[in-house]
Symmetry: C2
Subunit: 321 residues, 2 copies
């Protein structure tokens, strides 16, 4: 085994390629050779200072288990959940390790990330990938699970009018998930070519500024604090805003209008991997059309810069070349 | 019948006593001789410019029907719902006239209020008061219904820890409603003598700054935009904030932490009168202890000024003296 491996590291707000020691899997962990990583808006927000993280970046990936002390997963292609709970608090014991106050989060909080040749992860965090799904689709499982979390948290009656606000990476995945759940939705954005990706699923794309109707539910995926106000504008009284956007800083919110309209706001984060893998296996989602460009790990800094440009779709990092 | 009646009027942000024409009940309306009115924080916010209202103020009252063209209610002591819908929109037809976009709201929006000797109201808005309930308790039915709306909107499991944030008028009523629903709650405030009112119901009063535990649900009744931040601080991940506070202006909100904690925020406004009247009839709520002072209608301006002082409990207006 190599002693040092290449990794994309964030230190004091600076991103650079660095040789780091090969992760040593702890008890109940496996060592994974990362194939592909996906750049998420959270990565970009971290570079801007959203969370005070230092270490190897990245949390979306697909790879192959190289060392599993128990043997079960050795050689298996896997994706992985990013939250690692303490295992003993009331949240962990209720199966909500995502909310454990002492949790580590891969590439986000006290845990080395996946933008590296190797990553170590707890066995309970990894999931085998269906044989029929290519790496370019499997790398979307983590954000796809986050999109599915909307359906885990909120009941959406078939008669309700639903808007996905924002045609960015997460917005498109949410639109896909809603369509697969048989719900009709409208995606509001600014990039026709992106909204066209979900058109075959029956999702109507509309330029955000041209939409002035009222709907029952808005999934806010703009990645901008201004999105909340737009969501309020197009929402019926008694409507629901599902908040997916995490941006640094505070937003100016008209709380009184939430009361007057009896609006419900639901914060929504990471989601369940098993249904995401089932969706992947069905193979009906146009995930590969979401890939904008694949960079090598050595081009990581450039890739992050590219991913932060307006209108760019999914940017992947190939760790093997 | 008198041609002119005394009323407390708001015009261009100024409050004054004025002789206004006796209201003429329209078809399907009754004329009510108002006995007592209650001053609500919304009245005080209106004076500060929260809504651009001009006309007779007030929406909390108890009175006696003097003219009912259909006879049924003549002579009956009543309270009244304050929303008057258009009757034909989808909200009105779904029984949600509170959210009709064309609705009138008594003393708040395009409809003359109850701080007057007489008020006209639709027959469908009025409810007879139980014989055993004195006027000093019946005048609380409208805000008591608003407190009950929390239970209409949110399911609170008995195991959940609940905090009522704010020991103001609405906070105390919410604490009463939760206690009557068999739920244990903690009220956070700054006035021992006010929190002591709900102590006999089993509600624990704690000085707000001294409370640093985490709870599952916070009913935000501070009447201040700073309350939202405090609610976020004491909330468990996956917790719920029920927002009752309506204050003018925008608040600075950390939306990302709502996402990270998967917090739910539920705006909550007016509530159902029938269960509020049932609670009143049971006679177990210490409502009369909430009365701070009774002013005459002629002292209305002074009463509003008094009600806006910090720590003051419920202020009533006696329209008959």
């Amino acid at each position: 085994m190599v002693i040092k491996v290449k990794a994309l590291v964030l230190e004091n707000g600076e991103v650079f390629l660095k040789d780091v020691p090969t992760p040593t899997p702890q008890e109940e962990e496996v060592l994974i050779r990362v194939s592909l990583g996906g750049i998420c808006s959270t990565d970009l927000e971290m570079v801007k200072g959203y969370v005070p993280f230092t270490g190897v970046m990245g949390h979306e990936f697909v790879g192959r288990v190289e060392i599993d002390p128990q043997g079960e997963f050795t050689g298996t292609r896997v994706v992985g959940e990013i939250n690692i709970g303490c295992g003993s608090c009331s949240f962990c014991q209720a199966g909500l390790k995502n909310h454990c106050q002492k949790r580590e989060v891969v590439g986000i909080r006290q845990r080395q990330g996946v933008f590296a040749e190797y990553v170590a992860l707890p066995r309970e965090n990894i999931y085998p990938v269906p044989v029929e799904s290519p790496d370019e689709e499997a790398v979307f499982v983590e954000p796809l699970a986050a999109a599915l979390q909307v359906l885990e948290q909120v009941h959406i009656p078939p008669s309700h009018r639903v808007v996905v606000l924002g045609d960015g990476r997460l917005g498109l995945l949410v639109a896909m998930v809603l369509a697969e759940a048989g719900l009709e939705s409208i995606i509001l954005g600014h990039h026709k070519e992106k909204m066209d990706i979900v058109k075959p699923l029956g999702v109507t794309g509309v330029v955000a500024e041209e939409f002035s109707e009222k709907v029952d539910l808005v999934v806010e995926c703009t990645g901008s604090s201004a999105g909340f106000q737009k969501a309020q504008q197009i929402l019926h009284p008694r409507g629901t805003i599902v908040l997916k956007t995490t941006v640094a800083g505070k937003a100016s919110v008209d709380l009184a209008s939430l009361v007057t309209g009896e609006i419900t706001v639901v914060g929504s984060r990471c989601g369940p991997f098993l249904p995401a893998l089932n969706l992947l296996k069905r193979g009906k989602l146009p995930l590969s059309k979401m890939v904008d460009k694949v960079f090598t790990l050595s081009q990581g800094k450039e890739a992050l810069e590219y991913a932060s440009r307006k209108g760019v779709k999914k940017v992947l990092l190939d760790m093997e070349c």
